[in-house]
Amino acid sequence: MSEPGYRQILTQPRDHRIAWWAALAITIHIVESALPSPIPGLKLGLANVVVIAVLILYGWRDALWVALLRVLVGSLLIGTFLTPTFILSLTGAVASMLALGVTYYFSRMLPNWAPGALGYSVLAAQAHMLGQFTAAYLLLIPHPALFKLLPVLMTAALVFGVISGMIAAAMIDKVEKRAHSGTSG
């Protein structure tokens, strides 16, 4: 029996797993936020590597948890919670998770057409950029000249998506090898 006034919350292995991966994503997010960026909105987005790895290893629901925890806790620790930066970050994450979710559940019906880490990563980067851009246009800078920036940003998103996709593929490879050799990640 637990003492009166206290209720013990039982955690499942899945909770621990999500917490570990989210911690990794948050750490990368914070380290990356220290890097300067040439154009506002242009970031490598290495934290998304973690989201893609979780998506492929454990499924979309876990990836959603990791992505949202990353945005929330990352913003609390950097000090951007509820600022425009946070809103852009959140809309980007939500947009990319929506695109990933649709593709993920669609590719379950057609397993032959399921993309790998690289495809998911490029898709996520593009959706992230589009979501963020839409939020920036609607909320921050509603000026048509902003659209001149969109092709450049989307090209950058493609490049960054390919880079993070390759990192995610290498990461998934290592995690799966460790899982097969008996030690837990």
Binding site: W113, A114, G116, G119, L123, Q126
Partner: protein, 120 residues
């Protein structure tokens, strides 16, 4: 290593990007009318979709303009420099050709205006 789904996503991206560049960085939409001015006063407002040649009497003499396929140019002008002729065809909203010696100028109206105002 790459799967069919990956190629599908790459294909979609490689189609999306050129389309974005084309629509967002491409030419602004072409204009609809040409406003012909002599010494700052509007002489005529003509459609760019009606092929014709127009004679305009300027300060020095005749300027002859040609309209074809939605664009307009100077063919001959009574000036010395012939800069207006060398400017060639114009068709985008807000574009201007002017022959300062002869005081004849053409401005394209309609489409997306590229300049807010022009002073000279």
């Amino acid at each position: 290593m790459l799967r069919r789904g990956d190629y599908l996503i790459f294909l979609a991206t490689l189609l999306l990007l050129p389309w974005l560049y084309f629509t967002l960085w491409g030419d602004q939409r072409a204009g609809e009318y040409a406003q012909i001015l002599v010494g700052g006063d509007q002489q005529a407002l003509v459609s760019l979709h009606q092929p014709q040649t127009i004679e305009v009497a300027g300060a020095l003499g005749l300027s002859i303009l040609e309209i074809l396929d939605g664009k307009i140019r100077f063919i001959t002008s009574a000036c010395q420099g012939k800069q207006c002729i060398h400017r060639g065809w114009i068709n985008l909203g807000g574009e201007v050709v002017s022959c300062l010696p002869n005081q004849v100028s053409i401005a394209i109206l309609g489409g997306e205006q590229r300049f807010d105002a022009i002073n000279f």
